[in-house]
Amino acid sequence: MSELKNKIKLLIINSLDLEDMTIADIEDDQPLFIDGLGLDSIDALELGLAIKKEFNVKIDANSEQTKAHFASVDALAEFIESNRS
């Protein structure tokens, strides 16, 4: 699981062009949006696309659950682990 989390962190950094950031700078349970890492709605779309490509996971943009899956690296890892094909 920690390997998956590092993969997700690297994907966040690369797909969102987070200059000067390393995987050590992102906590597993840190909120990704607004007050945490400071990502916004465009980042959510970009990250959703990157996750879909990298892990072959279907993401339902209209689902209320999706917001919860994107809350942190922990939440994303759990979501990917239980949904990837």
């Binding site: 062009d17 400071g38 465009i42 970009e46 490509k53």
Partner: protein
């Protein structure tokens, strides 16, 4: 068409082995005023546009005329490539690929609520932007405005269509009408048959920048279709 240029900034990609560019000052791109979380999304095209606009406009709201022959073509070409292979488009790249994206981002970063135009008019784009600027000043829609012109070198797959030299460049200038007794520039269409090969022809925007830098009394600006005389009248 007569106008005064108060402030002027130009940025040319370094290490160009092109004759005529040596008179333009080189400066590093300064985007220190853009927050890192916003800066990360900016393409090279957007960065050179914002750099020059900020140098000219400062923090005061100012109407803007933006022009570019091809817009952010490296980005647009990437999107078209993705469509061709039926890949999903990047939301960020798509959102920032529209022609007025650079002035839109600039207006957000600077809280600039003044009116803005974005013009694409072939290899005459900067001339069209100058004409539109003059019209806005002459009809008193504003007392002063900023013109910004930006173009990137064509991506490799489009270079077979090049009809002039390909140089990443950006320039911005603030324009207003002349007051009595002060120096001003005039621009008039002229008949002229250029003999320069496309491989040696500088874009008009760069010819214009060189003329402004040198304050040359008379400069013929030309492409392979049309020509204008830019004259500096000392006050």
């Amino acid at each position: 068409m007569e106008f005064v240029v108060d402030n002027f900034s130009v940025w040319i990609a370094p290490e160009q082995q092109i004759s005529g560019l040596e008179s333009l000052p080189y400066q590093d791109l300064d985007l220190s005023w853009v927050a890192p979380m916003q800066r990360r999304r900016l393409s090279p095209f957007m960065k050179m546009a914002l750099h020059c606009m900020r140098k000219v406009v400062g923090e005061q709201p100012l109407a803007i005329n933006f022009s570019s022959r091809h817009g952010d073509l490296p980005k647009t070409a990437g999107l078209l490539d993705a469509i061709c292979i039926q890949d999903t488009l990047s939301p960020t790249a798509f959102g920032l690929s529209v022609h007025n994206a650079a002035v839109g981002i600039f207006s957000i970063l600077n809280n600039n609520t003044a009116p803005m135009n974005a013009i694409a008019c072939g290899n005459d784009s900067i001339i069209s932007a100058l004409i539109d600027s003059y019209a806005r000043l002459h009809t008193k829609q504003c007392d002063q405005l900023m013109l910004c012109h930006v173009d990137s070198a064509l991506p490799v797959e489009y270079q077979c269509f090049a009809d002039e030299l390909q140089v990443d460049h950006s320039l911005a200038l603030s324009l207003r009408l002349a007051k009595s007794g002060e120096g001003y520039f005039s621009l008039q269409p002229i008949n002229f048959e250029p003999t320069t090969e496309p491989s040696e022809l500088l874009p008009i925007s760069i010819q214009f920048a060189i003329a402004l830098c040198n304050k040359a009394p008379k400069t013929t600006l030309f492409n392979n279709q049309r020509a204008w005389m830019l004259t500096f009248h000392a006050g």
